[in-house]
Subunit: 330 residues, 2 copies
């Protein structure tokens, strides 16, 4: 990465997610010349957090380059619908103005960015399974139709939140039935700081009450933090294995809402829950291979995909597949 | 109902629920001599609300009788586990002290009270399906083991909350698939005050975003308010009929966790969702008849059941089945 001389045309890509906010500035040949990272921001639930994170990441990315040389900017935003809320729009616009970049950013869905991080093709399907879960049908690099992605209260089946909640629900059921704790239930209680993991009769009743109160004392989305316990215990706990299977099936059902089985365009999988090598990711790939056609690709660095989309918006000829490949390598 | 002369022994029953808080004072022959009603209070989520409601209902019930003549008090509390929280315990104790009643109340689960409101028998099973859903195995008038009742975030499948959430989820799915709105989806959008119910392409996308934001702008438990829309539309909307069937199956699954199929003791159904004549209640009765043995009874007035349990605790001989019958008539 090198500093811009301030005269060259630049483009900017961004990815505002629940876990991190990232900005990448590249020159006209697609060479990175500025990067910034900040905490995640969820514009739907915390309108302020996304703007603060955006301002910080922009500040870092533009520390050594001239923001006024940026000719195009594409920002992927988890829960793209949030921009319809005037307060979110206003706060993001303020953060943007203060960055010194003169062009307005184009906000796109995190699905658009994930698809570009998986393939240079213009058409296909993308599934993100991280804290939330959503699928989109992509045409000419833009998501036309989506399924899922309605947030933890109303949907996101098979997501990290869903996995964590199912882990607690399975633990409560074990306690209701006064059965011995399996590896997953024991890990859930330990992870939440249970005073003991003794069970049997009154102990099970006490533990169940404790668990319900401990979970309700936190913001619901914190349940996503328990998702790794399901992956870690699924080889030795049939309860965890059952949750993994159901998650994969639910994610495939979400995909099926936006993709025809005969479709042969690329199918991009993104997000930690869908990653290859993870139990849900592997189970998902098995089901996808049986139910759909076309190549299955893993999304790579989202902010690289966003920068590539920004390049394509000003100079399509420069936004080649090989430039994309380099940008999404991360 | 008549005023006590202040010398007679009295007992007090109470029912603190999410929808209402009720107190009933009866004399030693089970004749009502004081009643009080106040708003509902959920001790799990709003520790203060239950105490305020209890104080108000106690004040009304004891307006014309001498609280110091009360020899026993039994109070049913939704989410009985809440009493483990010190702040709830302290606030309820303060409301109690100010009532002038000198004996300490015995707090029991709302399941105990509902069972007593359904049968004078000491043993059996009870299912409550209102805003939440829970089942309990009862022995000697006390719930020994429960299933469900973990609150909207972690369980309560088949409850009013669950019905309302499924109604919204079904609506979102219709919008995701860009299908025409059925009666349930139209009713959901109208009930929440949607700006329009036009659909198709961009309209469906806008409506979906609006719906997710409208639901998330309210406390999640407000979703229970949409449950009646499912009942109202299930005869002309297969989507609503499917939700009704699933709710009934889930409630039976909860029952099956605490009741053996061969068990012949009474099975008491309580709560608005389980009421006879409602779609879920009728579907539930069909499934229960096929899967379990023993008589199926409907719980009647819960506060009458609580007063009867209070009578039984001081003078078991006076707490006859016919006294109970009169008290639970409401």
């Amino acid at each position: 990465m090198r500093a811009s001389n301030g005269h060259e045309d630049l483009v900017l890509g961004g990815d505002i997610g629940g876990t991190s906010t990232r900005i990448l500035v590249v020159d006209s040949r697609g060479e990175p010349c500025g990067r910034g990272t900040a905490a995640g921001g969820n514009p739907t639930t915390h309108p302020g957090s996304a703007a603060v994170a955006l301002a910080e990441a922009l500040g870092k990315a533009l520390a050594a380059v001239d923001g006024s040389a940026v000719r195009a900017a594409v920002i992927g935003l988890a829960g793209g619908g949030a921009l319809r809320a005037a307060d979110v729009r206003d706060r993001l616009a303020q953060a943007w103005r203060q960055s010194g970049v003169r062009v307005d950013p184009v906000y796109v869905s995190d699905l658009d960015v994930a698809f570009a991080a998986g393939t240079p093709e213009p058409d296909g399907t993308v599934l993100i399974a991280g804290t939330g879960a959503a699928a989109g049908a992509v045409q000419d690099h833009r998501v036309l139709r989506t399924a899922g992605g309605h947030g933890w209260l109303l949907g996101d089946e098979g997501s990290g939140f869903w996995l964590g909640r199912e882990a607690v629900r399975a633990t409560l059921r074990t306690l209701d039935l006064d059965q011995p704790l399996g590896p997953l239930a024991a890990a859930v209680l330990q992870s939440l700081g249970a005073p003991s993991t003794a069970t049997g009769g009154d102990e099970a009743t006490r533990m169940r009450r404790w668990l319900v109160q401990a979970v309700n004392a936190q913001p619901p989305i914190h349940l996503a933090g328990l998702a790794p316990l399901v992956s870690e215990s699924c080889e030795r706990d049939p309860v965890a294995a059952g949750i993994v299977s159901r998650a994969a099936r639910l994610l495939v059902d979400t995909l099926a809402q936006v993709r025809d089985p005969a479709e042969t365009s690329p199918l991009v999988l993104a997000g930690s829950v869908a990653s290859a090598g993870s139990p849900v990711g592997d189970s998902l790939r098995d089901l996808v291979a049986r139910r759909f056609s076309g190549p299955v690709l893993a999304a790579r660095d989202g902010v690289g995909g966003a920068a590539w989309l920004a390049m394509a918006s000003t100079d399509p000829a420069a936004a080649t597949a090989s430039v994309r490949e380099r940008l999404v390598r991360g």
